[in-house]
């Protein structure tokens, strides 16, 4: 860990408090050697309109996804992307973004697939930083290129594929999409474009827990007792469960993956990034419609 964690008492109750930093902490630590701040947004132009001074941009679409195959980039490309942004294997990376860190958490999850050890989220993300009147700049960061090693991505620990989900049926699944998508009345998030899934509904037995229930109005994560109420009491998750979360393409469930893994401390949580755009178009996979989780296929 290149930079000491944020000691804020507010984070102490979480399973892995070192995964969060506050806006105060970040402001005080800007420019600290070994720290790189990265902005990762849903709207890929937001960084250009103004960002935290010194922050680099990580574009979830062009930086992290393979341009041809539906997959993330491989180790060589990841090394090139991070090295160009001044990130070494030992760098402390703080990621923040729009929409309650929705995409920032997804980017953090991709970093995790490559085993980058010290990667944290700015609690509250871009909106909180701006709401508090902190400094922004439109000057793009010009980091000095550094060496990042070529690491083979680990797709077995935090990532699930369709066949993994089929084999997993009977274990907890969390569907983090909107209630309308879950029930099958639509295949896209409200106010989002049609994404081409051919069938609507959810994976049998999946519990519906929309991702935003983990976020407070100011975009910060909810306190632990509220998160426990949502995920343990309502959704019935408990320590030792093997959980898979999914959404449409794995971005919203990246947020939930962060909450379950780093705030609640569940181990072995996986994000199914194929999600509904794959499952809802795959031939002969089981689907349930309606508001109830439904039964396992016979």
């Amino acid at each position: 860990m290149a930079v000491a964690p944020d000691p804020s008492p507010r984070f102490a109750e979480y399973a892995h408090p070192e995964r969060l930093v506050s806006t105060d902490w970040l402001e005080q630590n800007l420019g600290t050697p070994g720290l790189v701040v990265a902005e990762s947004d849903e709207d890929v132009l937001l960084y250009e309109t103004g960002h935290i001074p010194g922050a680099v941009k990580i574009d979830w679409h062009t930086d992290l996804n393979d341009p041809v195959t539906r997959d993330f980039i491989q180790g060589e490309r990841f090394a090139a992307v991070l090295g160009a942004k001044g990130i070494t294997r030992d760098t402390t990376v703080v990621i923040y973004g729009d929409k309650s860190n929705w995409w920032a958490a997804y980017t953090l999850w991709v970093f995790t697939l490559f085993g980058h050890e010290d990667v944290r989220l700015l609690d509250g993300g871009r909106d909180k930083w701006i709401a508090e009147g902190r400094a922004l700049t439109t000057e793009a960061a010009t980091p000095e290129a550094v060496e990042y090693p070529v690491i083979e991505r680990d797709d077995t620990t935090a990532r699930a594929f369709r066949d993994d989900v089929l084999a997993h049926l009977g274990n907890p699944l969390i569907d983090v999409r909107s209630p309308e998508e879950y029930s099958g009345s639509r295949t896209t998030a409200p106010a989002y474009p049609e994404e081409g899934a051919l069938r609507a509904g959810h994976i049998p037995t999946a519990k519906s827990v929309p991702w935003a229930r983990a976020a407070a109005e100011d975009g910060t994560f909810r306190p632990l007792d509220q998160l426990n109420g949502v995920y343990r009491d309502e959704a019935g998750l408990s320590d030792g469960d093997r959980v898979i979360a999914y959404c449409r393409i794995g971005e919203r469930s990246g947020h939930t993956w962060f909450v379950l893994t780093h705030l609640l401390g569940l181990e072995g949580v996986r994000n199914y990034d194929g999600s509904w755009t794959e499952w809802g178009s795959a031939v002969r996979v089981p689907i349930v419609t309606g508001t109830e989780p439904g039964d396992l296929p016979a």
């Binding site: 709207d43 890929v44 132009l45 250009e48 309109t49 679409h61 062009t62 106010a191 989002y192 474009p193």
Partner: protein
């Protein structure tokens, strides 16, 4: 494929295609910053505006057809949604002043032809396609006898 692209849209397309990928985003940002303000007469009448449900951010549009059968398209989108603002601005500039027939003849896949599909996810570009489609629909509504 035979529909001729109006000069205004062709110019915008060519401007984008002449640039490398990072500069295309920069040009989109310039369009975003240059989205014309809503005319005074609509500012107090949000009920006159149409919500574009397909866009990922709250965007509203209003289409006028003037006495010379020229089309004017206005849109609003929040500053937190610069990409959406950019899309609306391209259409507002590119369609503004065209005739009804010219607007209705604009190819529906225009948004996919301006070289942004590598820089911006295809899902987002669909928001611009929806904006164009809704603009045409309003034009038809306003010119229906």
């Amino acid at each position: 494929m035979t529909n001729p692209l109006p000069e205004s849209l062709r110019q915008i397309r060519d401007d984008f295609l002449e640039l490398g990928q990072p500069d295309r985003l920069q040009l989109l940002l310039e369009f975003s910053n240059d989205l014309p303000d809503l005319p005074e007469r609509y500012r107090d009448h949000p009920d006159l505006l149409e919500r574009v449900e397909e866009c990922q951010s709250p965007v509203y549009l209003f289409v006028e057809v003037d006495d010379d059968s020229r089309v004017h398209m206005y849109a609003t989108a929040p500053a937190e949604a610069p990409t959406t603002r950019g899309f609306a601005s391209i259409l507002s500039h590119g369609l503004g002043g065209l005739t009804v027939d010219e607007v209705l003849a604009v190819p529906d896949d225009f948004p996919n032809t301006i070289g942004l599909s590598a820089a911006i996810s295809p899902l987002r570009l669909r928001g611009m396609t929806a904006l164009l489609g809704r603009t045409k629909r309003q034009v038809r509504l306003r010119t229906a006898a």
